[in-house]
């Protein structure tokens, strides 16, 4: 593919008086509203991007609190009834010696969500400050967040399968706890937050606007 000018003089679509469709890549004159190719809405930059990012992020963080306080799984067997939270479930797995699975659940349910909150906050704040530093690293962070965030859903699916499978009347039953709902909401909200982030803003900081 040919490049616009030499690598030291890369130009953006906006600087060229154009607007690109993010869905299909078609380039239009600035000011066009609807993509002629895919009928998608055209926006040179999403002016409300950061507002949406913060709103979804805060919703996601709030939903993550009950997800950790309330039980994820309600187990009843012949001898006992027990409830386990996300962390409780991980601890149980460790006690049974299932280190690998404990690690998967811990990474998916604790490290990824918390890492995502921090990463999105960092991205949003650095854009608000018009930071010109580590643009490549920040763009990478954005890609990782977009790619990995969905994987937090693992624990919700584990709860779904366990509750469907372990329904042996008197011997043992497993049912979903309220935390499963708030955890799923937290993941969905954080995914929406990441999707609302307009990555073009990372690169705009050191571009001189006409």
């Amino acid at each position: 593919m040919g490049i616009a000018g030499q690598s030291h003089s890369l130009i953006t679509a906006r600087d060229a008086g154009l607007v690109a469709c993010q869905q299909c890549g078609q380039v239009h004159r600035l000011g066009t509203r609807v993509c002629k190719r895919c009928e998608g809405r055209l926006q040179s930059r999403d002016g409300e991007s950061l507002q949406k990012v913060w709103a979804w992020l805060i919703a996601g963080m709030i939903a993550y609190i009950p997800a950790n306080l309330y039980p994820m799984l309600l187990t009843s067997t012949l001898v006992e009834r027990s409830e386990s939270t996300i962390i409780g479930g991980v601890v149980e797995l460790v006690e049974h010696g299932s280190w690998g699975i404990a690690a998967i659940v811990f990474i998916a349910s604790v490290m990824i969500p918390v890492g995502k909150f921090v990463a999105i906050m960092y991205l949003a704040i650095s854009v608000q400050r018009h930071s010109k530093d580590n643009q490549h690293e920040r763009h990478k962070a954005y890609e990782v967040v977009e790619f990995i965030g969905r994987w937090s859903m693992i624990d919700v699916f584990v709860v779904a399968i366990l509750s469907a499978l372990v329904q042996l009347d008197t011997i043992a039953t497993i049912n979903p706890g309220i935390a499963a709902v708030s955890f799923a909401l937290s993941v969905i909200f954080t995914m929406l937050s990441a999707q609302a982030f307009d990555s073009r803003l990372i690169w705009d900081a050191d571009r001189t606007r006409p």
Binding site: M1, G2, I3, A4, G5, S7, L10, I11, T12, A13, A16, L18, A20, Q23, C24, G25, Q26, V27, H28, R29, R37, C38, E39, H96, S98, I104, V105, H136, H139, E143, R150, W151, M153, I154, V156, F157, V158, V159, A160, I161, L162, S163, A164, L165, V166, Q167, L168, I171, A172, N175, P176, I178, A180, V181, A184, M191, S199, R200, W203, D204
Partner: protein
């Protein structure tokens, strides 16, 4: 160089950083990266379209099998419980968890099926070198927009974790639907790697013209 006279259709702007590039024919099996942020802008894989279509058709059929056949069976103390994928969804069907049941159904079955149908609808005529169907563009755009919300591969990892969790408690038998579902996941990953948005939009444009 971009000049005033460069036709707009020859330009490609990076969707993630807005850097403008001039599109030109790409050698076979090559990838073009954004000069600023480095993401892949386009790939050139001859016959990708036909392969995407056949993979999508296979995945669609296997997905139907995955929801119809028994998924997992649990045996403990003389009691027996067979679970299908649908049962896993219905696990959340009581009271406050109902919206979650709907969401899980969408993530693991409905959205993957919508994506596959949309792709088959949009690309089918292109492979046969016919004019695209009405709404083909909207169908392809939808398939791409739904990509992050299709979570079949995450579900299969969740199932594996669940299996190890109950392994000590009871005997679990893996049914044919499990393998069908795993097949859907592998095929979907292969298919999505073949999809180059830019080339597919180009072909849609060419086929319409």
């Amino acid at each position: 160089m971009i000049t005033e006279t460069t036709p707009l259709d020859d330009l490609v702007a990076c969707p993630q950083c807005d850097t403008l590039h001039v599109a030109s024919a790409l050698p076979e099996n090559a990838r073009a990266h954004c000069q600023q942020c480095g993401i892949v802008l386009m790939t050139s894989q001859p016959a990708a379209m036909a392969r995407i279509l056949s993979l999508a058709l296979t995945a669609f059929i296997m997905m139907i099998a995955a929801v119809s056949f028994p998924f997992l069976t649990l045996d403990a103390g003389g009691l027996h419980n067979a679970t299908s994928v649908i049962d896993a969804v219905l696990a959340f069907n009581d009271g406050y968890a109902f919206p979650l049941a709907v969401a899980v159904a969408f993530f693991i079955v409905v959205i993957p099926l919508i994506r596959l149908s949309a792709l088959i609808y949009a690309l089918g005529p292109l492979v046969r070198e016919q004019r695209p169907r009405q709404g083909a563009r909207r169908a392809f755009a939808l398939a791409e927009r739904l990509r992050p919300w299709s979570m079949a591969e995450i579900f299969i990892v969740g199932v594996t974790v669940a299996l190890i969790k109950v392994a000590g408690l009871a005997a679990v038998t893996i049914g044919p639907a499990f393998w069908a579902f795993a097949g859907v996941v592998v095929i979907t990953v292969l298919k999505d790697q073949l999809i180059c948005r830019y080339s597919i939009w180009e072909s849609l444009d060419k086929a319409t013209a």
